[in-house]
């Protein structure tokens, strides 16, 4: 088991014929992901990496039965690309593109929420991977390994850092979800935590947050009700207020969005909070043994 994607997922890639799209699609196919279609308007009928290209998502879905999407199109066209998946009734789509205007994402997020048909992951995210089954994103596949730990993170490279520590400590992963570094993410911590709580294979969850917004605090509300242990890490503890730290969403506004507020909320909810990424594997083992799970 896993969440959101698995070995049966049929993936369609928007912007597959572009430089980034092509490179990562090749990596995904190499990993074993079932990429069934690419979409680039005007390039329908061509074939790339043995994958058929269609003019629209609707056509790709009709012809291949695709049920998951991945978007690499440039930021000015990203919002439209997301809505195209909703229009075609695809239940899950991940937006890798960084730099989508905030006003576009407000419209998209609210439209998807009202429609209730399509879940968006991202933008500005690394994507999602269920190790050994489906890699739908830009993460280096070789650092992941199957196992009982669910992972959810706002940061790509920090995910790699922690996953690599976990894999070396023989703590494999059910699914690793990159929710992205933008201020208006399609999917947030609370929703992913809920999914891991309901996934029988997941025995514990690692959550990696950072400064900005209050999504970690909202996630803590779910952790209060969870039966599975959560080990969290928050980056940006020393970031000054009012400065955007790389990610569009990583900014402390006034007193809102500080690392301390997130750490406090997580601790109060019963999560374990790591002081350094290197502590995560050990804290996971401790948390697991406390609930009587041996890995």
């Amino acid at each position: 088991m896993s969440i959101l994607v698995n070995k049966n997922s049929k993936v369609v890639v928007s912007g597959m014929t572009g430089r980034e799209g092509r490179f990562h699609t090749e990596q995904m196919i190499h990993y074993g992901t079932n990429v069934v279609a690419g979409v680039t308007p005007g390039k329908g009928g061509q074939e790339l990496l043995g994958v058929p290209i269609f003019n629209s998502v609707q056509e790709a879905v009709d012809r291949t039965g695709a049920d998951a999407g991945l978007i690499f199109v440039p930021a000015p066209f990203a919002a439209d690309a997301v809505l195209e998946y909703e229009g075609a009734g695809v239940p899950f789509v991940s937006l890798i593109t960084e730099g989508v205007p905030i006003n576009d994402m407000i419209k998209v997020a609210n439209k998807l929420k009202a429609g209730g048909k399509t879940r968006l992951l991202g933008g500005n995210c690394a994507g999602i991977i269920t190790p050994g089954e489906c890699k739908m994103g830009i993460m280096p596949g070789h650092i992941f390994t199957p196992g009982p730990i669910g992972m959810v993170s706002r940061s790509g490279t920090l995910t790699y850092e922690v996953v690599w520590e976990m894999t070396r400590a023989e703590l494999g992963q059910t699914t690793c979800v990159g929710i992205g570094g933008d201020p208006i993410p399609g999917t947030r911590f609370n929703e992913v935590l809920e999914m891991f709580e309901n996934d029988p294979e997941t025995k514990a969850v690692v959550m990696i947050g950072e400064i900005g917004g209050t999504d970690e605090e909202a996630g803590a509300e779910v952790i209060k009700r969870m039966t599975k242990p959560v080990v969290a890490f928050i980056s940006g503890r020393t970031a000054p207020p009012g400065k955007r730290m790389g990610h569009a969403g990583a900014i402390i506004s006034g007193k809102l969005g500080t690392a301390q507020s997130k750490v406090d909320a997580l601790l109060a909810a019963g999560a374990t909070v790591a002081d350094a990424t290197s502590e995560v594997p050990e804290l996971l083992r401790k948390a697991l043994s406390k609930v009587g799970v041996s890995v």
Partner: protein, 384 residues
């Protein structure tokens, strides 16, 4: 990206928001002409993007146009220093604006409510002071009105909200269209903040944006060609301005340990580790995904423009970024720049082995983990 006050007011005026008369200038003679239009009764305001410019001596009231002109002459080219910006900023232009009589000061803003994923209008009768202070001392004095992303705001919602905020009823007829105009301006010019503080109510019954702060979403600059040129100008620091020209995500933090990494989360985490090890981070710098040697070199060069740097930490976890490319960039930087400070590089992930092999015969210090790298760079920089 913050806009200057004069740009903010011009923008809002173009959406029908009433603002005091006046213009921006670099020329004391022109300042006199503008001041004469208002009978000499003007306020001269330095156009620098820093907090505390009033206390720094950048804002002054006049009743005589010659005095306003003299003050303009004095300000242009002067470096203003405030608590918020100890390095200070040089004044290049001033806004000469009509002085208005104020009976009451209100507060209006439009911003993003991230948790609701909607815009919110904040309204308060307590204008003229920092809204954070109002929020702390009189939280009941702030009324929040969320904007429906599909429908926008209805007049009745605005009327109800400003009534709840206890805005005097004489001002309602002007405030309803003003709030609608602010929301329209926010959406159509891709703002990420519009704040009017104070929103002035004059004794003769006019509602005006006496001060205005507008910040634009940088992600939307591609569809706002009018602000493309403002981007460098908007940087609060000379190295940040250079970073913007080079397309590098860099934030100056004021310490002395330079930091370069890939990915925002990893860089933030590196700052935390350096601080934990007793160091003071000089900057945030994300090389971005898949950086080539040339870009890495450019990043090293940028960080070293900061004269306070005592040590440099490079922390890479390669996904699409290759360790060998990073190593090549570091070596090129060492070969072409006069690097006088110790450099610690931690390279992990894709092509890390090749990268480490390249660095083995250089003076670069290696480290197995991020924590070790942070401790090493702090020890080497401070001579511990």
């Amino acid at each position: 990206m913050k806009l200057h006050e004069y740009q903010s007011k011009d923008l809002l005026a173009s959406f029908g928001v009433a603002v005091p008369g006046g213009r921006v200038t670099k020329d004391p003679a022109e300042a006199k002409l503008i001041a004469d239009e208002f009978g000499g009764k003007v306020v001269v305001k330095a156009q620098v993007l820093m907090g505390g410019r009033g206390k720094a001596g950048g804002v002054k009231l006049f009743t005589d146009s010659q005095a306003a002109s003299d003050f303009t002459k004095e300000l242009i080219g002067k470096r203003l220093i405030s608590i918020q910006n100890p390095d200070g900023m040089i004044v290049e232009q001033v806004l000469v604006a009509e002085q208005i009589d104020i009976a009451e000061e209100f507060y209006l803003s439009v911003l993003l409510d991230r948790s609701e994923q909607k815009l919110v209008v904040m309204i308060s009768k307590e204008g003229g002071m920092e809204i954070e202070e109002v929020a702390e001392e009189h939280p009941e004095a702030i009324v929040r009105l969320h904007v429906d992303p599909a429908w926008g705001l209805s007049d009745y919602e605005i009327r109800n909200a400003i009534t709840a905020a206890k805005i005097p009823s004489q001002a309602h007829r002007q405030m309803v269209p003003m709030i609608k105009a602010l929301v329209k301006a926010y959406l159509e010019s891709d703002a990420d903040l519009i704040e009017i503080n104070p929103c002035a109510w004059t004794p003769d019954g006019r509602l005006l944006a006496a001060d205005a702060k507008v910040s634009i979403d940088e992600n939307a600059l591609y569809r706002l060609p009018q602000y493309e040129a403002t981007k460098e100008d908007a940087a609060e620091d000379e190295i940040e301005a250079e970073a913007s020209r080079r397309g590098i995500a860099y934030v100056r933090l004021g310490g002395d340990i330079g930091i370069i990494g890939n990915g925002a989360g990893l860089v933030m985490c590196s700052l935390d580790e350096v601080t934990k090890a007793g160091g003071k981070p000089a900057n945030f710098l994300d090389v971005g995904g898949g950086a080539q040697a040339e870009r890495v070199k450019s990043c090293v060069e940028l960080v070293l423009m900061d004269q306070n740097i005592k040590g440099l930490l490079i922390n890479i976890f390669g996904g699409i970024t290759r360790g060998d490319e990073v190593a090549k960039g570091i070596l090129e930087a060492l070969a072409t720049l006069d690097v006088k400070v110790p450099v610690v590089a931690r390279v992990e992930g894709t092509a890390a082995k090749e990268g480490l092999a390249l660095l083995a015969s250089s003076p670069i210090l290696g480290a197995a983990t991020m924590q070790e790298a942070a401790e090493k760079v702090v020890a080497a920089a401070y001579g511990k």
